[in-house]
């Protein structure tokens, strides 16, 4: 006898809810990705490889994933810190700050990009500061070691990095925050009474409890950064080989009505993203095994 796809459950409504879930998931997620893969399948694996295996595409992919990774790591550290501060401390303006964390979610990405560019362009407030003060100072200190810093932020890779940090920050903070709220102070007190130092408590008690949520936030921030187009496009100079992100390359292919090449680069990004998210999930599983469920 064939096994039914969905086993009968004592809970009522399983069939209905499973049906709704599967339909929604298919419509919203699986269908578009399927269409992308279908376009790629028609194009052929060797053609996809030929499209991707060009210096300009590699440069764009490398730039996108490298900066996304850096931005996600930056957000991992500062997002966790921010969540901790927002939950554990009481200070004036805390609620406003708490609400402001969501702004990158709410702001249209183009608005964010234009605002960031206006700030960090050489004639903007922060860009001017960087050019007039940071750059001479940096060159004074690091100049003798051969490092050169022009003080340009917008239209360089640094600008892209800042935009990616901006859009990714809420992901880490918002996933970690509820977990910090759940941590009972008694646990820390118990650790202290058992003779652990503060650093030891953080390392062996707090961080293990935070790490699953932090990793999830990290993965979300990374995924968002890889796909980010709207805000980056304004602050990146979009110079091929230097500041051209992979999503822009896809748009350029579309402008040429070259749907196959666009799909090929899309599939390459999908594959790399998938591998990265898989690796993060494996780390999560491994860390859960090591320190148990918390």
């Amino acid at each position: 006898m064939a096994r039914p796809l969905i086993h009968r459950s004592p809970m009522p409504g399983l069939g209905l809810s499973a049906g709704i879930t599967l339909t929604m998931l298919s419509l919203v997620v699986l269908l578009p990705i399927g269409a992308l893969l279908l376009q790629g399948a028609n194009f052929g694996l060797s053609n996809i490889w030929a499209t991707v295996n060009r210096p300009r595409v590699w440069a764009a992919l490398y730039l996108s994933f490298r900066l996304s990774l850096f931005a996600a790591i930056f957000n991992l550290v500062f997002g966790v810190l921010l969540a901790w501060v927002l939950v554990r401390y009481r200070f004036p303006g805390r609620r406003i700050l708490d609400a402001a964390v969501d702004l990158p979610f709410a702001l249209p990405t183009a608005v964010a990009g234009i605002a960031l560019t206006a700030l960090y362009a050489p004639n903007g407030v922060l860009g001017g500061f960087a050019r007039d003060w940071l750059a001479p100072l940096g060159n004074l200190v690091f100049g003798p070691f051969g490092a050169q810093f022009t003080g340009k932020i917008a239209y360089t890779q640094l600008g892209i990095f800042i935009a990616l940090v901006f859009v990714g920050l809420p992901f880490v903070t918002r996933t970690v925050q509820p977990v910090v709220e759940e941590i009972e102070r008694e646990v820390e007190e118990a650790s202290a009474t058992l003779g652990a130092s503060r650093a030891y408590t953080i390392r062996r008690v707090i961080l293990p409890m935070l790490s699953p949520a932090a990793l999830t936030g990290f993965a979300l921030a990374l995924a968002r950064a890889v796909g980010e187009y709207g805000s980056v496009i304004f602050i990146a100079g979009n110079i091929p080989m230097l500041t051209e992100i992979a999503p822009l390359l896809i748009v350029i292919q579309l402008e040429e009505f070259n749907y196959d090449a666009a799909a090929a680069i899309g599939i390459a990004m999908l594959a790399i993203s998938f591998a990265m998210l898989l690796a993060i999930n494996l780390i999560q599983i491994w860390s859960r095994r090591r320190i148990g469920h918390v």
Partner: protein
């Protein structure tokens, strides 16, 4: 039929309906009891009713007197005025006021939107090549450009330099732009129609001045620190962000920047050679719903050639054809310049494949092949 009834405030019951009482209550049989109460509208019924209502309200309005004009970036101001003028003209012909909508964006992406199904009855794009794409998709006849006068281009423009006030780097012609330390702002020719004209103008100058054009445009783009996606983006980068020494711009865009951002900040420099940019217009046959709409769309395009509309084009810094109704100062503004048209490059099809295609000459500037 299974019916739900309300027995008291909080209690409802369901069962087979067996009788309707005179006062509107119904009696049901639940299997154990016979119960009588007020029927409750079922959730699904009300949901279905709401859905039906939504369908009715969202149903497309009658299309007869409406028109969508899909245009490119710098025509915003011109078509805002033109739409108002045309509406007056259309009403004076004894018709009711038309609803005319205009959409603006990069010429290439606008063309793609129409190919992908944007319901535009009229396209007014930056290059014939973009309308050719729409024609290739079967939405208008191959010979569309022969349907209206002047290659279907009611107005033309050219490419000029916008420089900082007083022209501190003394950039007077194309040759000055490839000097060391000059920063040139131009959009990405892959995504912007205007940028392709910029590129071709530079190419034409190099050809006429005995330089290797490929090497020349290569040097030009090496001096470009930012490649925006569209002409407006480049204007912003140059004017608002203060990047670069010279902006390669549509002539109308350059005058507009002067007008909007202050004449005390920028100067316009007209190079010795430039291109005759013909932004064409066309009726999208495949998106015409009925004869009334066709008539409206045809008149919309034909009226572009009327003296009033031509005057408007002059006013918005386009080089139009018919000066009869234009203000003299709008016409005299344009200096004489040697203009090269697209045919001297072999037509758009050839230019597109040779220069801007995948791995074409423009790509080779960044990735030597």
């Amino acid at each position: 039929m299974i019916t739900t009834i309300r027995i008291s405030d909080r209690i409802t019951a369901q069962g087979e309906e067996i009788a309707k009482e005179a006062d509107g209550r119904v009696t049901i049989a639940t299997g154990l009891h016979m119960l009588t109460g007020w029927p409750v509208t079922r959730l699904l019924k009300s949901a279905a009713a709401a859905l039906a209502l939504a369908m009715v309200t969202l149903a497309p309005q009658a299309q007869a007197q409406s028109l969508l004009n899909v245009s490119y970036d710098p025509t915003r101001e011109f078509y805002r005025d033109y739409n108002a003028a045309f509406a007056r003209h259309w009403e004076s012909l004894g018709n009711s006021a038309p609803t005319i909508e205009t959409s603006h964006g990069g010429s290439g992406s606008q063309a793609r939107a129409v190919v992908d199904g944007l319901n535009a009855q009229v396209v007014t794009l930056a290059l014939a090549a973009d309308i050719d794409r729409v024609a290739e998709a079967g939405k208008l006849p191959e010979d569309w450009q022969a349907q209206l006068p002047h290659n279907s281009s009611p107005y033309t423009s050219t490419i000029v330099f916008l420089v900082r006030k007083g022209n501190p780097k003394e950039l007077n012609d194309w040759g000055d732009l490839v000097e060391e330390g000059v920063q040139v702002i131009t959009p990405n020719p892959k995504t912007s129609g205007g940028a392709r004209w910029n590129y071709l103008a530079a190419w034409a100058w190099a050809e006429k001045n005995g330089q290797d054009p490929q090497e020349f445009v290569g040097k030009l783009y090496k001096n470009t620190p930012v490649l925006d996606n569209a002409a407006r983006g480049s204007t912003t980068t140059f004017a608002q962000r203060g990047i670069g020494d010279v902006l390669l711009a549509w002539e109308n865009e350059a005058y507009l920047a002067l007008k909007e951002l202050g004449e005390d900040q920028f100067d316009i420099v007209v190079p010795s050679v430039s291109v005759l940019a013909e932004p064409p217009v066309a009726l999208v046959e495949g998106n015409i719903a009925n004869d009334a709409q066709r008539e409206l769309a045809n008149e919309y395009l034909n009226y572009l050639y009327s003296p009033e509309a031509q005057a408007l084009a002059f006013k918005h810094f386009y080089r139009a054809w018919d000066t009869s109704a234009a203000a003299p100062e709008d016409v005299e503004r344009f200096p004489e310049v040697e203009l090269v048209d697209i045919e001297s490059f072999g037509g758009w099809k050839q230019v597109q494949d040779e220069h801007f295609g995948d791995g074409g000459i423009f790509d080779q500037i960044y990735v030597p092949q």
